[in-house]
């Protein structure tokens, strides 16, 4: 008797859970969505992701709750996101840090805990280049000045970054590689302290992102020498970009959304549509542009292609960096 009862309960539970799954696929979303952010709260990535969440709610019809799962430059959260249920209710904030982390692990001979293809990319909404910043009364009036000085004194100019192999270190490494210059690197914990070091003249230069650097530029605490990308920025049209100067060293910080790889296509389509609409939404644009960034929408497949491209560049530079680490 007990066995029959137990078996019936078991069947009932299975049936209920399966049917709930089916119901959910039909008119997704029917309950709140969790967005895992692998970066610590409060950073620029976090705020942009939260801006997306706040606006996408309108188009998805359900609340999007952002949960921070920081650790290991985004690896911890990414692993959690990759292993989540592929039902469209757990999304992950994808960014260039995916590529950063994976390639760094590979360059050091370790197997990365997750891979690019553990995710389906929904889309991305920013593609920000870094800015070359120097202290306000630095002797360099242009990027060429800096480069000339660097050539004359190899290994003497000091730069800071927000963290080893992170979003503000790699652009400089790529730049140094492309121009054959040598610098000294002082890592800090995060972009904020690094900017503070530039303002306080503790380092010679750094590559930081527009939202945090532009206000300081306007306040005459530092100067921007160039935009490390292929286009000038709308907000500072007078500042040359690397392409203008003939330097081929591109690196972009991009932020987007991803879902676990087995998420059913109709749900992915719905998410992609919502993301596209969000990227075009005026309120969202205001939230991104006010701090000084720009919205730049890429469809999920284009994101994947971009990752391939940047993956190659980053892998190369990471190999170089890994070799340079002291092995005494």
């Amino acid at each position: 008797m007990k066995k029959i009862l137990g078996f019936s309960v078991f069947t009932l539970v299975c049936f209920l859970s399966l049917s709930m799954g089916l119901i959910q696929a039909a008119d997704y979303p029917t309950r709140p969505i969790t967005l895992i952010n692998p970066m610590p709260p409060g950073g620029t990535l976090d705020v942009q992701a939260r801006a997306w969440a706040a606006v996408a709610e309108k188009y998805l019809g359900q609340t999007v709750v952002v949960v921070n799962k920081p650790g290991a430059t985004g690896m911890v959260g990414a692993v959690a996101g990759a292993k989540a249920q592929p039902d469209g209710y757990t999304l992950t904030v994808a960014s260039v840090n995916f590529t950063n982390a994976i390639e760094w692990e590979r360059a050091n001979g370790r197997r990365p805990p997750f891979n690019y293809d553990d995710f389906i990319y929904i889309g991305s909404f920013t593609m920000s280049p870094t800015l070359v910043v120097v202290p306000y009364d630095s002797p360099y009036k242009s990027l060429q000045d800096l480069m000339k000085d660097a050539q004359a004194k190899p290994g003497q100019l000091v730069y800071c970054s927000g963290g080893l192999y992170g979003m503000s270190h790699l652009p400089i490494a790529i730049f140094a590689n492309a121009t054959g210059l040598k610098f000294r690197h002082v890592p800090y914990k995060g972009g904020g302290p690094c900017l503070q070091a530039v303002v306080g003249k503790h380092v010679d230069f750094a590559f930081q992102y527009p939202p945090t650097s532009l206000p300081l530029m306007r306040g005459n605490k530092l100067r921007v020498l160039a935009v490390a990308g292929e286009r000038r920025l709308k907000s500072i049209p007078d500042i040359p970009c690397f392409k203008d100067l003939g330097i081929n060293a591109e690196y972009y910080g991009w932020v987007g959304i991803a879902a676990p790889k087995k998420t059913p296509p109709p749900i992915v389509e719905k998410l992609r549509e919502a993301t596209k609409k969000t990227a075009e939404d005026k309120a969202f644009n205001a939230m991104i542009e006010k701090p000084g960034d720009e919205v730049y929408y890429l469809h999920g497949d284009e994101v994947r292609k971009h990752i391939e491209k940047e993956g190659k560049t980053i892998a190369e530079i990471d190999q170089e960096l890994a070799k340079e680490a002291p092995k005494k």
Binding site: S17, T34, V65, Q85, K328
Partner: protein, 154 residues
């Protein structure tokens, strides 16, 4: 086995462990410390502390009272803390699998029933109140992201 000796042995073991592992890291030197510099240095210091105290202990430390560890009492004393640890460990392992509500309810119930020795119904009732209450307070009001049981989504 005095308390000092016990602690010294622990320091020694940890120091040795640290030393063994840190040798694989590049050391650098005073002017350019590598990642292994600090851990190796500290491991050595720990080992030194451990050894020094063992020696000092043997010589009889200048009139300071050594406190012995009484093993017989230890067993009895450890029982409840061990139980608490065990149940909490189960909570930790289950948390992300069965969601906060269920896990906390089970946890509080087991603690009340098995450790605090409340009668069954009272334990159940209190566990329900505390489980639901904490779920609502932390998850609902404070917005802490508490895990959900994927099957039923609470």
């Amino acid at each position: 086995m005095t308390k000092e000796r016990g602690a010294s042995i622990i320091f020694l073991i940890i120091g040795l462990y640290g030393l063994v592992l840190c040798r694989q890291l590049p050391l650098g030197d005073w002017r350019d410390p590598g990642p292994g510099f600090l851990p190796c240095g500290l491991s050595i210091l720990l080992i030194a502390s451990g050894v020094l105290w063992l020696i000092r202990g043997k010589k009889g430390g200048e009139g300071k009272k050594k406190e012995k560890i009484i093993w017989r009492d230890a067993g009895k004393k450890l029982l409840t803390p061990a139980k608490i640890l065990a149940v909490t460990a189960v909570f930790v392992l289950l948390l992300e699998r069965t969601g906060y509500l269920l896990t906390s309810f089970l946890y509080v119930f087991i603690v009340f029933f098995w450790i605090s020795r409340f009668p069954l119904w009272i334990a159940l009732g209190l566990a329900l109140i505390i489980g639901l209450g904490s779920w609502y307070f932390f998850g609902g009001i404070l917005g802490v992201p508490l895990p959900r049981w994927n099957l039923f989504n609470f």
